[in-house]
């Protein structure tokens, strides 16, 4: 594979949808998401030597993607660039007793964005990617016990935040 750009292009086309999906969880801005996908595949190309072939290639790629996304959040937080918080009240006005999947994602994304990058990462992987504690630990390189503890804290913070936003009142019609 060394130096075989065509082979890498084929590999990229195979895994691009999965990586696009994951990076969309880190930003809902199309341009930023495109940039992140590019970063993941460029970083993966130059780290190919570290891939031992012991596990599926996608797992290894997901690890890189998680690291790239987390780094993006950290840099954004450091720069003080905050994503505008969505007005949750807009959901009440629809009164259709149904929530569109894109809107649900938007609401959760806005809610998670108010938390610290570490908590946000755990919750994103838990809720959007349906990762278990073991999966999160594997992707982040944290210990299983540490991840479990972090997940518990993150959920606690999320609950507090949702209570503050009166989530149960606003979304009680969700069945």
């Amino acid at each position: 594979m060394d130096g075989d750009n065509d082979a890498y292009r084929r590999l990229m086309q195979r895994y691009e949808p999965q990586i696009v999906r994951l990076m969309w969880r880190f930003t809902r801005d199309r341009t930023e998401a495109e940039q992140l996908v590019q970063d993941v595949f460029v970083e993966a190309f130059f780290s190919l030597k570290s891939y031992k072939g012991q596990g599926p290639f996608l797992h290894w790629l997901n690890k890189i993607a998680t690291r790239v996304g987390y780094r993006f959040w950290k840099q954004r937080d450091k720069a003080g660039l905050f994503v505008p918080i969505d007005d949750f009240d807009a959901v009440d006005e629809s009164k259709t007793n149904e929530i569109d999947s894109a809107h649900a994602a938007e609401v959760l994304h806005s809610l998670f964005n108010r938390l610290q990058a570490t908590d946000r990462l755990i919750l994103t992987l838990m809720y959007f990617e349906e990762c278990s504690i073991e999966d999160i630990a594997q992707r982040t390189g944290w210990t299983k016990a540490g991840t479990k503890m972090r997940a518990m804290r993150a959920r606690g913070k999320l609950k507090k935040l949702a209570e503050k936003e009166k989530f149960s009142e606003k979304f009680e019609w969700i069945k």
Partner: protein
């Protein structure tokens, strides 16, 4: 289970069905990779030159430390007694 957590889980379940944007960035990735590869090749002679410079500098330092021990401080020379030798 907690009501709020239940709501969040239901929202997440709905959110997972979201239709994601489709984009193909493989061309951009390949051009970035080839650009970085070229930069890497261009950096190699510079790295070799830097290595040789560091080696030369360490050799000079090694000899200058030894020479340093024989240098006499001119300030001490001011107060040192005059060691004249009687010629006759």
């Amino acid at each position: 289970m907690d009501k709020i957590i239940k709501i969040i889980e239901k929202l997440a379940k709905t959110a997972r069905n979201e239709v994601l944007p489709q984009f193909d960035v493989s061309d951009e990735i390949m051009s970035r990779i080839s650009l970085l590869q070229r930069e890497k090749v261009g950096l190699l002679p510079l790295e070799v030159f830097a290595g040789l410079t560091a080696l030369a500098a360490s050799i000079v330092t090694f000899f200058s430390i030894q020479a340093w021990q024989y240098i006499v401080n001119p300030l001490f020379q001011l107060f040192a007694p005059y060691q004249g030798v009687a010629l006759w």
